[in-house]
């Protein structure tokens, strides 16, 4: 088992700067989820750790040993690829045996050992009955298991998994994230797992690192990433529908503070407003509101704004509303049952405690520590 550390790592492909100063660490036995949109540099990061690519600058440590100049094989890491990378001309058995039969391992494993080991892994993953098939004869889920099997078979120190379940249908994904996490827990192998799907990252990661344009934006527990996003980008990356992020301004009328979002005027607690004004002198910032962090009602909520239903989408037990007022458009996710109509007017009340504020220029979070404020 090993600790993985990346120190100020850089990587360019010609003109394209893929990785720009990445610092990351993954503790022994931990599962670190790398979350980011496509092209963020997730796969490159994995390939750098695996040694399939050389870094232009910075250092990579496995178990406190600098591995910059160590060959991929000697790093003793195993990787699964987004497209599974199974050999189509081999059977499942041969695919699983391939790593053991490599010139570097042939002297360790006799053919008998290979058979034993492959069968053991196949049984573990429930693909025992598929050993004689070829990858083309397998379903997506089965291929994914074979690719996991090929990673497990050599007892590596580190697992690197590149979008392992991105191409499976939604139903299967629920079971497979669970399965991968259970397997990883049981084996206790340090794992770095990439995904572009926030749900997957939060569900599977002990810790989550959000990465974009080759830089790590935030590392934290799933809870931190969801509740205290460091930047506007992270706020919008997470959630379905994503966080509403809007230009806003703090205004004071008589003694009360209001949050002015375009034509939308919403009351704000004095303590919060004052705190925010300390941070942003002109009172202008961007506010982030998660679609679930608001109350929507057909009955009038006195003092709170009224919005028009632009469209409403039922999702079984939930309902997504797109609400408009002037140029302001926000999305709300509520329990099913309101059954609103297009053009109808509804009252909206945000959950104060769960508002996020971001700097207008940098997009960085403005820390208010509102969790500790009594409202």
């Amino acid at each position: 088992m090993a600790k993985v550390v990346l120190k100020n790592v850089y990587k360019s492909y010609g003109e394209v700067k893929a990785i720009r100063g990445v610092n990351l660490s993954c503790e022994e036995g931990q599962l670190l989820a790398l979350l980011g949109p496509s092209g963020a540099g997730k796969t490159t990061t994995l390939k750098l750790i695996a040694g399939l690519e050389k870094c232009d600058g910075g250092e990579i440590f496995l178990n406190d040993r600098n591995v910059n100049e160590v060959s991929p094989f000697e790093r003793n890491v195993a990787m699964t690829f987004e497209n599974y990378a199974l050999y189509p001309h081999f059977t499942v058995f041969e695919n699983l045996a391939f790593p053991l039969r490599s010139p570097r391992r042939r002297h360790i494993y006799s053919e008998k050992d290979v058979r034993k080991k492959v069968e053991e892994i196949a049984t573990l993953l429930g693909i025992h009955q598929l050993l004689d098939r070829r990858p083309t004869q397998l379903s997506g889920g089965q291929r994914q298991r074979v690719s996991l099997g090929r990673m497990l078979v050599t007892n590596p120190d580190v697992f690197l998994m590149d979008e392992p379940i991105a191409h499976l249908d939604a139903k299967l994904r629920y079971f497979l994230t669970g399965e991968i996490k259970k397997l990883q827990k049981r084996l206790g192998v340090t794992t770095i797992y990439t995904t572009h799907d926030y749900m997957e990252a939060l569900a599977i990661g002990d810790r989550v690192a959000v990465i974009n344009t080759g830089k790590v934006l935030q590392v934290g527990s799933p809870d931190e990433i969801f509740n205290r996003p460091n930047t506007e980008f992270i706020g919008k990356l997470i959630g379905d529908p994503p966080m509403n992020v809007l230009e806003c301004e703090i205004v004071k009328k008589e003694k009360n503070y209001f949050l002015k979002i375009g034509e939308l005027i919403h009351p704000l607690s004095a303590r919060m407003a004052e705190k925010l004004l300390q941070e942003v002198k002109d009172g202008k910032s961007r506010v982030g509101i998660r679609p679930t962090d608001m109350q929507v009602s057909r009955e009038k909520i006195p003092g709170y704004p009224e919005m028009e239903v632009y469209v409403s989408e039922p999702l079984g037990d939930k309902e997504i509303l797109t609400l408009k007022k002037g140029n302001v458009s926000i999305q709300a996710k509520i329990k099913a049952g309101l059954e609103s109509k297009v053009g109808e007017h509804l009252w909206v009340k945000f959950d104060f405690k769960r508002l996020h504020f971001f700097d207008r220029e940098t997009g960085n979070r403005i820390h208010l520590d509102v969790e500790y404020l009594v409202l």
Partner: protein, 368 residues
């Protein structure tokens, strides 16, 4: 009479029966979605409506007129294709204008409509590029634009937003639904994504293996699935199925699940009892993850299980729980979360109003 009517429609490709005896009606102004996994016959059905595939037997009526032998061009329909089907030699503007030119509209009118649809689908900035260099998502929006720009009786759409990224897909879902509701156009929409069907359609026809399993509003389909397939296909995380046995214990109805006894409402019990008489009480229970509550305290009428995995997914927490020999999934919203950790024992309570019972062999619902 419905605007579109399919009557006992079959489609065979050699030995393969792609569509089996489909009956379907779509009213003027309705948004009807054909939902099912790949290979379920939904695209064949759509292509038969368009006239791109011959029907093997049965009848299709549009506006009361039998169209079995009517050429696609004469059916006054518009279609958006999953694989875009754009004209590579024409710029985007001309691609979209193509169906309008066929109708000999004035240049001014064409321009107005192309610009309108381009703005709606956020492709104004690429109007003068050729399709070749554009991304899949952009090409798909052009294909959709070409279908929307035409004034057709029926708009047919085959997975029109499947190649867009998640964010754009959400936006397009919203805009399409809004467009449908404000213009009153008639849409038949093919998709494999239950979210798309649920969020946009007035009615959904759930298909599998060439057969329509259920037709109904999204709420009906979600709350009253007619069989196991529909229940399993709709909803995320997917519904849990548990083999169980209906019993009468101390004068009350109960089900035996994984060696636990769980009392259910009498009204439901009676219905299920009637239907399950012949099965010796054997029934398959379906519970959606959202209809399961968890408790650390001892409660009456609860099953006990062990938490094996906790997945916090933001606004809710997904628990994988071992229940006897089975593993079930429960989803609890963050506000109601009780912070259980892995390995802990837990009480499981089903929402009694939202239990589904299915025939263990045929999969048919026993109470709808």
């Amino acid at each position: 009479m419905a605007l579109l009517k399919l009557e006992n429609v079959w489609k065979r490709y050699g030995e393969v029966e792609a569509v089996k005896n489909v009956n379907l009606e779509c009213e003027q102004g309705e948004f009807l979605s054909l939902l099912g996994p790949s290979g379920c016959g939904k695209t064949s059905t759509l292509r038969m409506i368009a006239g791109l595939e011959k029907i093997t037997s049965g009848n299709i009526y549009i506006k009361g007129q039998l169209v079995n032998d009517l050429q696609p061009g004469k059916r006054n329909i518009a279609m958006a294709f999953e694989n875009y089907a754009l004209y590579p030699t024409l710029v985007v503007y001309e691609n979209i204008a193509f169906p309008l030119r066929a109708k000999k509209l004035s240049e001014k009118e064409i321009k107005k409509r192309v610009l309108w649809v381009a703005e709606l689908l956020e492709i104004e900035d690429i109007l003068y590029s050729k399709p070749k260099g554009l991304s899949g998502g952009q090409q798909q929006r052009i294909s959709l634009a070409r279908a929307l720009v035409k004034d057709a009786d029926i708009h047919l759409m085959d997975e029109p937003i499947s190649h867009l990224d998640a964010d754009m897909r959400r936006r397009m879902r919203r805009e399409l639904k809004r467009l449908h509701q404000t213009t009153g156009m008639t849409v038949v929409y093919v998709t494999h994504d239950q979210l798309e069907a649920m969020s946009m359609a007035d009615r959904i026809a759930v298909m599998n293996n060439g057969v329509i399993h259920q037709i109904g509003t999204p709420t009906e389909i979600f709350n009253h699935p007619k069989d196991e397939f529909v229940a399993g296909f709709i909803g995320s995380p997917p519904i849990n199925f548990l083999e169980s046995r209906l019993r009468v214990e101390k004068g009350r109805y109960a089900i035996e699940v994984e060696k636990f006894l769980y009392f259910i409402p009498d009204r439901l019990g009676k219905k299920v009892e009637k239907a399950s008489d012949l099965l010796g009480g054997r029934v398959r229970l379906g519970v959606r993850p959202g209809d399961i509550a968890l408790s650390l305290k001892k409660v009456d009428n609860a099953l006990s299980g062990k938490v094996i995995l906790v997945e916090p997914v933001g606004e809710s927490v997904v628990y994988h729980i071992r229940l006897g020999e089975k593993e079930i999934i429960a989803e609890v919203s963050v506000e109601e979360d009780i912070n259980v950790s892995e390995g802990e024992g837990i009480r499981i309570i089903f929402n009694p109003d939202r239990l589904y019972f299915f025939h263990p062999e045929t999969g048919k619902s026993l109470h709808t």
